[in-house]
């Protein structure tokens, strides 16, 4: 069963034009996905691909222009006020920059316990404090942290605090927006291990937003690859990383950092030029695609399926290798 389901999400923003006007730009275009219980679905893409906008719509931090979101079977797209607040208890977010997302003037016990005031109003001060201590402990932060302020913590510890704050109301779904991008690699490993452990213990479902394919390969069960506001390919990690069918996915995978100097490749003859640009019509990737043909101009594909099968939005997919 899917715990979080998005159907045909779209969102436009206006760009340019100081007082209105400007050009409307579709940041997210007809995105559909389903997150199953206990799994990690990664949304991967480069900057401007619409992955964060999608995440924000999925948890109603941002209203979609079109499409719907179901959380645990309930439509949340049109929920408001109290209903929305109650629904939010089941879906919480962890942000990239743990420092920017923690109030510098609030003690850790207040920051982490904030959600309890809203969702567990029956708890008294002492109960809240105990619950905070317990949740922090789960995240590897000792009790001595309760009365400290965010600046007294390192980046990795702050991210642990950020995770504890999301967990305190015992959600079913965590939306993790680049949760390890700002961290050093040794700290990143600690946080990834922690997320894995908590997921197992609490049977949590993760929507994991990232630009980092190595991290995604490590943490996710399934992945949706976004380019220019659309999902261009989705499937299990083995399918998408093992035999990518969409040329954009293949290009992204080829651009991954190498792990050893033996893997150095000499220049591949494209002159090192950046091919930029997004097609206004037809396949969004065709201007950058080495396999584009004439019929790509008339092909406007979004992945409609939210099933776990391997799907890709391409007229001339790469062979299964």
């Amino acid at each position: 069963m899917s715990v979080l389901k998005a159907d045909g999400l779209s969102k436009s923003f206006r760009r340019g034009g100081l007082w209105g006007g400007g050009i409307s730009h579709k940041a997210v275009n007809n995105v559909t996905f389903a997150l199953k219980e206990g799994e990690t679905l990664a949304i991967v893409g480069e900057s401007g691909s619409g992955k964060s906008t999608t995440a924000r719509m999925a948890m109603r931090l941002l209203d979609a222009d079109e499409g719907s979101v179901h959380l645990l079977g309930e439509e949340i797209t049109s929920a408001s006020g109290n209903t929305l607040r109650i629904l939010r208890k089941d879906i919480q977010m962890v942000f990239q920059d743990p420092f920017a997302s923690l109030n510098p003037r609030m003690k850790i016990v207040e920051t982490v316990g904030e959600g309890l005031r809203v969702h567990r109003p029956e708890m008294n001060h002492q109960q809240r404090r105990e619950k905070v201590a317990e949740t922090l402990a789960l995240c590897g932060i000792g009790e001595e942290a309760l009365d400290r302020y965010p600046h007294q913590f390192s980046g990795g510890q702050r991210q642990r605090v950020g995770i504890a704050r999301a967990l305190i109301v015992e959600p079913k779904v965590l939306v993790l927006d680049e949760p390890v991008s700002a961290l050093d690699v040794s700290v990143q490993a600690q946080i990834l291990n922690l997320l894995k452990k908590i997921q197992k213990e609490r049977n949590l479902s993760y929507l994991f937003i990232s630009h980092d394919l190595s991290v995604v390969r490590h943490v996710a069960d399934r992945v949706a690859v976004m380019f220019a506001g659309r999902v261009v390919e989705q499937g299990t990690i083995e399918e998408v990383f093992g035999a990518p069918r969409h040329p954009y996915t293949k290009m992204l995978l080829a651009a991954r950092p190498i792990a050893h100097p033996d893997q150095r490749k000499e220049n591949n003859g494209n002159g090192g030029l950046d091919r930029e640009g997004v097609a206004e019509s037809g396949c969004v990737f065709r201007l950058r695609c080495a396999f584009a043909q004439d019929d790509c101009a008339g092909f406007e594909a979004s992945i409609q399926s939210d099933e776990s099968e391997h799907t890709y939005a391409c007229l001339h997919p790469l062979d299964k290798s």
Partner: protein, 341 residues
């Protein structure tokens, strides 16, 4: 060479950091942040200086251009020699010409390193005319050529554009063009691809490698990213808490990392892990300047540490030819590569 400069006996062409110690002001006190760091950068070679945030790698790199001093960074001891001449004995005018001339720098932030109110053309020609005796026309021609050299399509149009019209990758190309403006012999590249998308990163890596080879540049590549080191470096120095803890050729470091810190750092990368498996981690955190242990700086986090590690340890405590590690337990079985939370 100015007669009163202190002169290195080794006059071969090189950029040499020798036993450099730097301190930074923390709560009103000067605290050592870089501890007796030695590096040798030769023309035609890429030296990767790698470490996590706060290890002192950027402070070291900035010291080579004598930057950071206005922010209170102080040299405590040691020296830097540019082709044999001490940077700290150089007069202000020579220093100014050296910066961006003989030695230039590419920074991490392509978004902030360009001035938004001047055109790309005027910013590049400004650098050219600062270092080379050229009139406006000649400088313009050179700017155009530089943009071509860094793979910029439609260079003529780009000259007239302002930074906000360019993507991150294009801005980084402009900054690299500016760094090449006065035909430097050495280039300091501080996280040159960190702020870029992966597909753009790869192309900037190719560009840097091409330029470095064509121009026989000596490049100091400062980064936290072993992937970038694997792509570009010939030699590697690993920094931890202000010290070089291991150095050697890129093959030596990747094939046979010796220091427990290097080994752990390389082992915890998700790209070398089994999907889904727990990653090996280094327990604890980097001690900040002022809180370094008297002996090995890594001892508190090291599963191999014993009482002998509380004595100062020299960089050649373990060595195999040019491969050195500041460790008396190098290569011993490392239980720390098991998983911990």
């Amino acid at each position: 060479m100015a007669g009163h400069s202190s002169v290195n006996t080794n006059t071969a062409r090189s950029l040499e950091v020798r036993e450099l110690s730097l301190s930074v002001p923390i709560s009103g006190e000067h605290v050592e942040a870089v501890s007796r760091v030695s590096l040798v950068l030769k023309p035609g070679r890429v030296l990767g200086l790698v470490g996590e945030s706060g290890c002192g790698k950027s402070l070291t790199a900035q010291a080579i251009l004598r930057l950071g001093e206005h922010q209170g960074v102080m040299r405590e001891s040691g020296d830097i020699f540019l082709d044999g001449e001490s940077l700290f004995s150089m007069e202000e005018e020579r220093l100014r010409r050296m910066r961006g001339g003989h030695v230039s720098m590419v920074f991490q932030e392509p978004m902030t390193a360009l001035n938004p109110v001047f055109s790309i053309g005027s910013q590049i020609t400004e650098v050219i005319r600062l270092h080379l005796d050229m009139d406006k026309g000649e400088a313009n021609t050179r700017a155009l050529k530089l943009l071509h050299d860094v793979g910029m399509q439609d260079a003529e149009a780009v000259l007239k554009q302002y930074p906000d019209a360019l993507s991150g990758g294009m801005r980084q190309r402009v900054l690299i063009a500016m760094a090449m403006a006065a035909d430097p012999a050495y280039i300091i590249a501080d996280e040159p691809t960190t702020a870029l998308d992966v597909s753009v990163q790869k192309r900037i890596i190719q560009l840097l490698r091409d330029l470095q080879r064509q121009r026989n540049l000596g490049m100091l590549l400062v980064t936290h990213d072993f992937g970038l080191v694997a792509e570009l470096a010939d030699d590697v120095a690993v920094m931890y808490a202000g010290q070089i803890v291991e150095s050697g050729s890129v093959e030596q470091i990747f094939n046979r990392p010796a220091h427990p810190y290097t080994r752990a750092l390389m082992g915890c990368r998700p790209e070398v892990s089994e999907p889904g498996a727990s990653l090996p981690v280094i327990a604890g955190q980097v001690p900040p300047p002022g809180n370094w242990p008297s002996g090995c700086h890594f001892a508190k986090r090291c599963p191999l540490a014993d009482t002998a590690c509380s004595e100062p340890i020299s960089i050649d405590a373990w060595s195999d030819g040019k491969h050195q590690a500041r460790c008396i337990h190098a290569e011993e079985k490392l239980p720390g590569l098991e998983v911990a939370l």
